[in-house]
Amino acid sequence: MSMSGQKSATAEQTPQRLWHGLAQLRHVREVNVLLAMLIVGALISLYTPYFLTTNNLMGVFRAFSLTAIMSIGMVMVIITGGIDLSVGSAMGLASLVTALCFDAGFGTSTSIAAGVGVGVTFGLANGLLITAVGLPPFIATLGTLSIGRGMMYMITHGVPVTPDTPEAFSVLGQGYVGPVPVPVVIMLALMVVFALVMRRTRFGRHVYATGGNEHAARLSGVKTDRVKLAVYVLSSTIASLAGIIGFSRYLSAEPASGFGSELDVIAAAAIGGASLAGGVGSVTGAVIGAALVGVIANGVVLLNINTYAQQAITGGVILIAVSLDVLRSKLTGGNG
């Protein structure tokens, strides 16, 4: 065996190496999804120049920002080999509890804290059911999904809660930083922070190791139960944050808010390259995945396609994206 790779790398001229580096980018999943998004965007803008206006683009960004925020938590759960079906309920219940607190006359910080508390509670419940009791993540979070949704209907009797809120609170959902909506700023900030956490910290490494081979990770000294508890708490807490932002946008907590959103969130993570088998995935990939779905949704509206078709198109995108990935790794990897 000779190390032909190293030899040729040193012999290469700099521009060639640059080209080689760019060629390598092809293998990075995020880049592929980003490319797909740019292509879709270009196609849409061919039909309607309105697509590329700042106004529309910022609207698109804001529309998918909540899904993207939740997908950041979700992808960490998926990387450990788990799944969190309860994010929609955590989101909805958090927005409802925040609204109820305002309704009861509490201040902004108390109300937000209560909403976040809902998320933490969801996460602890999920995490403990999975690690201490030993339930499969699918079952544990399916249970808390139903409980959360049921509680929302019980509390509201199906009627939205619309309290008076201070001006400052609505900045969270309705404000702008320059031309950029505040939810988008929050999304980007969370993305950067958690991408760094996953790529550069010990915790991040442990998350990947737990999903890659839990047994080996535990025998190497990784406290896998703690890692799992942490990602479920993060996922629910981030979802509750999305709920609070959503409430701040419409200032009305709907009993159905967040209903079914777990599927969009899982889809975003999967399109972005996360493997449900665990060990593989990235935070930026998940956000870009959410963006791709968001752009398509916008295109459907702008091109006057039947909105019901949007869901079918999204489904198609998931299947195509993941299939391409599987086929590509079969072709290049070839390791049986």
């Binding site: 065996m1 790779g5 990947y208 890659g212 990770a217 535990r218 990784v222 406290k223 060990g279």
Partner: protein, 500 residues
């Protein structure tokens, strides 16, 4: 003996690695052909090409019965009469022996349902032909590893294979099972079946080989009848060094200071499988290499898992005279214990991660500030071990999945040694690694004891235990049946304690 399969000028390139470089191989019916070579020499890759798992680079040729043939995939290979028995056995545990043998080609009755009676009868006939005494309706999950291997051989025979490839088949077998297997191999050869046999065990190679081919760095360096080969020559061809230079003399660094004392160790919840370990008491001295020997099923691994906290136990463990509570691996690691596990794929490695990430998983905190990993220092440390252990990999970023079996084993050793535990438990440390690397591992263990580390070595390779241990503890049916000093530990004494 008739020529069956010829490979001419076979090359295989992976990204960054030339695994095979114009290899020639001639296989005859009725011949046991041993393929030998260092870790990463390309043996498994060559076999994967022969069974259609990989396609060779253009330029070479494969001829079967004189006809140029392109082997498209494993199913095609089997149709051509080539079967392989992998070390990681490919049996379905929840199914019966007969169901496994006839998997995906179950005999159907007139109704279109599986004809169970015929399937069992056919399976019984195949098993009888090979003198294997396993009932066809036994669940495979209840069989030992050696028996599972017999089921795989029966399956290969039932395909009417002309060539059966075995890639390190005895690596995880007990001594007795290994003997049964080698006898089976001779019998298959007598029935005019060709065998390709890959092994790192010298005794075994000379016991069964008709012909030996040596690969080094992806090239054929020698091929001759076994009768013309000697051990010295084989080692020289494989590693390019003299056998006598490989293994240094044993230098003891053992002291009389007790580092860890184990008292009355036993299983908390005895399970149906495995040995019922009970009442195991011993001391581990500072700087000592303590060998643990026993037949498969004697409970050696169980004892180590209890000490390491991955199996719950009764009894006490004291380190430096103070009793410690060990309820999880991270407790054990916190008390300075490291554990090179026996099964590298299941327990030792995260296969999808890089060499670097696997290496540092045990001691990542060393490269961290405020929990942020310093990638440069991590890579440097990993690089040092790749060099000192001779791990063959194009870079530290290679996924361990793509390393050869023996090189994966070296990564497991590196990740624990780098943590510098006070007590290092190594379970079958040299399984699947070549003779040169084995000598390096022995030298490494010896060097570590000179730095004050205490080491427990579990191995079913008795000569290995005798060569490197300062004392030997023999387990039998879950209990200690002998503790022998280096001078008293002879092959006979140890076997007597293990079986007597």
């Amino acid at each position: 003996m008739t020529l069956f399969l010829e490979m001419h000028g076979i090359s295989k390139t992976f990204p960054g690695v030339k695994a095979l470089n114009r290899v020639d191989l001639h296989l005859r019916l009725g011949e046991v052909h041993v393929l030998a070579g260092e870790n990463g020499a390309g043996k498994s890759t060559l076999m994967k090409i022969m069974t259609g798992v990989y396609r060779a680079d253009p330029g070479g040729a494969i001829r079967i019965d004189g006809q140029d043939t392109v082997i498209k995939d494993p199913v095609h290979a089997r149709a051509l009469g080539i079967s392989i028995i992998y070390q990681e056995l490919a049996v379905v545990n929840n199914m019966t022996v007969a169901e496994n043998i006839y998997l995906a080609r179950e005999p159907l009755g007139r109704t279109g349902l599986i004809d169970r009676r015929k399937m069992n009868a056919d399976a019984r006939a195949v098993l009888a032909e090979l003198d294997i005494s396993i009932a066809p309706d036994t669940r495979v999950g209840n069989l030992s590893i050696g028996q599972k291997q017999m089921v795989e051989i029966a399956r290969a025979i039932s395909y009417r294979s002309k060539l059966i490839i075995m890639d390190e088949p005895t690596a995880s077998l007990s001594h007795h099972e290994a003997t049964t297997l080698t006898r089976m191999v001779r019998k298959l050869a007598a029935q005019n079946i060709g065998i390709v046999y890959i092994s790192h065990r010298m005794d075994e190679i000379f016991e069964i080989a008709d012909r030996i081919t040596v690969l080094r760095d992806g090239e054929t360096v020698d091929s001759r009848p076994a009768a013309d080969m000697t051990r010295e020559l084989l080692v020289r061809k494989m590693v390019d060094r003299e056998l006598s230079q490989l293994f240094g003399a044993h230098l003891s660094h053992a002291t009389h200071q007790v580092l860890m004392s184990v008292r009355g160790l036993g299983l908390k919840r005895p399970t149906a499988q495995g040995a019922r370990v009970s009442d195991v008491s011993f001391d581990l001295h500072r700087g000592e290499i303590l060998g643990f020997f026993g037949l498969v099923g004697a409970g050696r691994t169980e004892v180590m898992e209890m000490i390491f906290g991955s199996r719950s136990h009764v009894g006490t463990i004291a380190i430096d005279g103070k009793e410690v509570r060990i309820e999880s691996p991270s407790d054990a690691i916190g008390h300075g214990i490291g554990f090179v596990t026996e099964d590298r794929k299941e327990q030792g490695l995260v296969l999808g991660m890089s060499v670097r990430e696997n290496f540092s998983l045990t001691h990542l905190a060393e490269y961290c500030r405020l929990d942020v990993v310093n990638r440069r220092r991590e890579t440097e440390a990993c690089h040092g071990f790749v060099r000192s252990l001779g791990i063959k990999t194009p870079s530290t970023e290679q996924k361990v999945l793509n390393l050869s079996g023996g090189n994966q084993q070296k990564v497991v050793i590196a990740k624990w040694v780098a943590r510098r535990p006070r007590i290092l438990i190594v379970d079958e440390p040299t399984r699947g690694i070549d003779i040169g690397a084995k000598a390096e591992v022995h030298a490494l263990l010896n060097r570590l004891t000179s730095e004050g580390m205490s080491i427990i070595v579990v191995s079913s390779d008795l000569p290995e235990i005798l060569a490197i241990s300062d004392r030997v503890i023999v387990l039998k049916e879950g209990r200690i049946s002998g503790i022998l000093g280096r001078d008293d530990a002879t092959q006979e004494q140890v076997m007597l304690a293990a079986t007597g």
